[in-house]
């Protein structure tokens, strides 16, 4: 049970990090030669 809660928390933390990454990807506009 406790282990399941820990996994849930870890997955939610990764979801938060992924959401922030999406945020930065969408509104950041650096020029690069790799597009």
């Amino acid at each position: 049970m406790t282990q399941a809660i820990t996994w849930q928390r870890m997955i939610y933390a990764l979801y938060i990090l992924a959401a922030i990454a999406l945020l930065l990807y969408t509104i950041g506009a650096p020029a690069t030669d790799g597009h």
Binding site: L23, I27, D33
Partner: protein, 199 residues
Amino acid sequence: MSVASIILLLLIPSAAGVFAGYATGGRLARLTEIRFRASWLLLLAALFQAAQYYARPVRNLLEHRLGLPPLALVFALVATWLVVNLLQWPTAIRLAGAAIFLGAALNGLVILVNGRMPYSPAAAELAGIKPGLATPKNMPAGSGTRLGLLGDTFPVSPLHEVFSPGDAFIVLGGSSLIALAMRGNRRATSVLTAGGGEQ
């Protein structure tokens, strides 16, 4: 999205935020205390963003048939997501979100008045970018460019990338948001506000 963009926009802010969070006594598990609402707006914005580069039919449909500039759509979706979430975050995290919002607004403004994000050819040369290169999001600045100072003007030579003042706010805000959220809502708020006023 290039490898350089992934490093500059995703890995560096995330890693810096996690590092700063741990350095100031935070824990990754405390990220779960922050609530992100309406994440589908971000996902939709990311899909439209990706479509600009990799799905020309979608881009043509939005731009020519529906008259919706894809970049305006992306920024509008993200702005809506930020407003929805900013209002319910504790003060310190709200400040980090506001820095992201400011960065988005600066980038959005320059894109709005120029059609795309202009980059300084001189800075691009320093960063080792091919001269005159244009993408769905970027174009070289010229004599007709407006608000050029807010465009991509800071070269990052090792990554072959040029970033804007708006990008700097976005990266700083993103890192701060992660670090503050790792400290936990209540602690982040009480430490960074003058009177320790909490939500």
